[in-house]
Symmetry: C2
Subunit: 329 residues, 2 copies
């Protein structure tokens, strides 16, 4: 059975939603959770039924948003440090954290270590699309300054994740650029294009809009661009809903209309684009599994992140990445 | 009176919407239009009343989307070449084109020439926001590979455009990065940050979401990132409307609700985010004025692009840019 180490302290809303998420995940899937954090606080939120069924590892320090990522390496009694160590020591298969994402990435990369032939791990996130499938985008913030070799490895890891964890038979992998034509791109993406064109799963350059229309399964970019893309997307969606509300306030018929649309349209739409539905972002390229949740993760987001960690750990993704990179070396 | 040269041939939908746009602009503003293109075709779409009121310059070649930008320099009988030459020869104050944007940028840069101290011109575009003002983003595709000096100049040009053309008293100029903290950014934006911090209008790093929430008036980025940002934003908005329609089709009450919301909410929202409402994208940094419209510009978009060209030409933006860059040199 898969064992998941969960940082019980890291999120913006304390340990309650994290523990609720673990309980929700236990109700639908079999796995062994290890909660890492302040035992007294964890027991306070954990239903009595689970008190003797869940292992708790005491950790008395929490890395907060005001701490630097590199400091995390010295804070050996922090919940995230101890949770990561469980994967390093092969006690757990995966770690899930909604805490300081920079600290989690640093610890996972340096303490668990990278897969052979991986220069730098990448943070991957799922984004909504009008098609039935979601789109995986990587990197969204782990490697701000990228070389072509980084993007090349990101593409391979993304393809493997889409195939092995998302269950897409023949994933289409695209390189994010300022136009679809082969001639488009900056120096970085042009060099990467040349390295990727040997793969039959590489469909060439894609544009920002392709993430959302189902034309591509995996979108590869550097962490600077990916992070901007992510926040821009969230900003556009928020702005559309804010504007709709502003106009609605001025019209009674429109408010009635909104009530009629609420359940069948807005609720479904919200669900479709709600980041909590997507769980967390896997850090691809480490010798284990780390799922990084958003700081404001609710119980649903934690549950989904745990399910993602289970699917990851049950797959052959890491050995497949290693095999392909060894082969194409 | 301001004279505007208009490429009558370049758009995706032929000359009709372009000529309609010129007529619409003439109904609300005083300016002298010079239409450049196939005279017979222009006269066909031009209302009889205007036949002896509008000057037409014959051009028998059109640069199409399949042509390369550099080819445009040799195609001296093309409508865009001749329209740009009118600005170069000081016959017109500004050129408006909905044709091949790469060709227009190349011609405007090389034939009209750059302002003193400007390394490379930037394409700027207005984006919707939930605040009353719009946000200017530059560069959105003119300079794919940027140096810090380019971004530095873009920031100055953006500030000047916001003040002189958009009429914002104290524009807030931000640098697009992967986080708001001063420490965030890639090598390029970090170097630019250091150069810009001396200006009181520079508010530091901003995130993608800030474009849409009114926290900033001018957002500076390289042309690769800006282009991706633009297409991502369009993609998200399209996806939200597509998903809403998909859910609506499945529910009669929701369809009734949508009817009630149509006029007061959706129509206003559409207007607010409709690129046609924003006219075109000014190419900042040339020794004149060039407004580049979207290929699929309708009459409204052309009208707005012309009004933008008039406001630009009536302002002191170019001399202000030159003065500030000379002063800070």
């Amino acid at each position: 059975m898969i064992t998941i180490a969960i940082d019980a302290m890291g999120g913006d809303h304390g340990s309650e939603p994290i523990i609720d998420g673990v309980v929700e995940a236990l109700e639908i899937s079999k796995f062994t959770p290890i909660l890492v954090g302040a035992k007294a606080e964890i027991l306070l939120h954990l239903p009595l039924y689970y008190h003797d069924k869940i292992q708790i590892i005491e950790a008395n320090d929490v890395i907060t948003m005001s701490d630097s990522s590199t400091d995390a390496l010295k804070r050996k009694d922090s919940s995230i440090y101890k949770a990561v160590e469980l994967v390093r020591d092969k006690i757990a298969d995966a770690v899930v954290s909604a805490g300081h994402s920079g600290a989690t990435m640093t610890l996972a990369t340096l303490r668990i270590g990278r897969l052979p032939h991986i220069s730098k791990p990448a943070l991957a996130t799922l984004m909504p699309s009008t098609a039935k499938t979601k789109t995986l985008v990587l990197d969204v913030g782990a490697v701000v300054e990228c070389k072509a070799q980084n993007l090349y490895e990101f593409a391979i890891m993304g393809e493997m994740y889409a195939k092995n964890v998302m269950g897409i038979d023949k994933p289409r992998v695209g390189l994010l650029a300022n136009g679809e034509e082969d001639s488009k791109g900056n120096d970085l993406t042009k060099e990467t294009f040349g390295m990727l064109k040997k793969f039959d799963w590489f469909i060439g350059n894609v544009e920002g809009r392709d993430i959302f229309n189902g034309h591509v399964d995996v979108v590869v970019c550097d962490g600077f661009t990916g992070n901007i893309l992510l926040k821009t997307s969230e900003g556009v969606a928020e702005a559309i809903f804010t504007l709709m509300k502003q106009y609605m306030r001025k019209s009674l018929p429109a408010q009635l209309g909104a009530m009629l649309m609420k359940k069948r349209v807005f609720a479904n739409l919200k669900k479709q684009i709600d980041p909590h539905e997507y769980g967390g972002a896997p850090l691809l390229g480490i010798n284990g599994c780390a799922i990084i949740g958003h700081g404001n993760s609710n119980a649903k987001a934690i549950k989904n992140a745990i399910l993602q960690a289970i699917a990851y750990s049950n797959s052959n993704i890491n050995s497949s990445i290693e095999a392909l990179l060894t082969e194409t070396k």
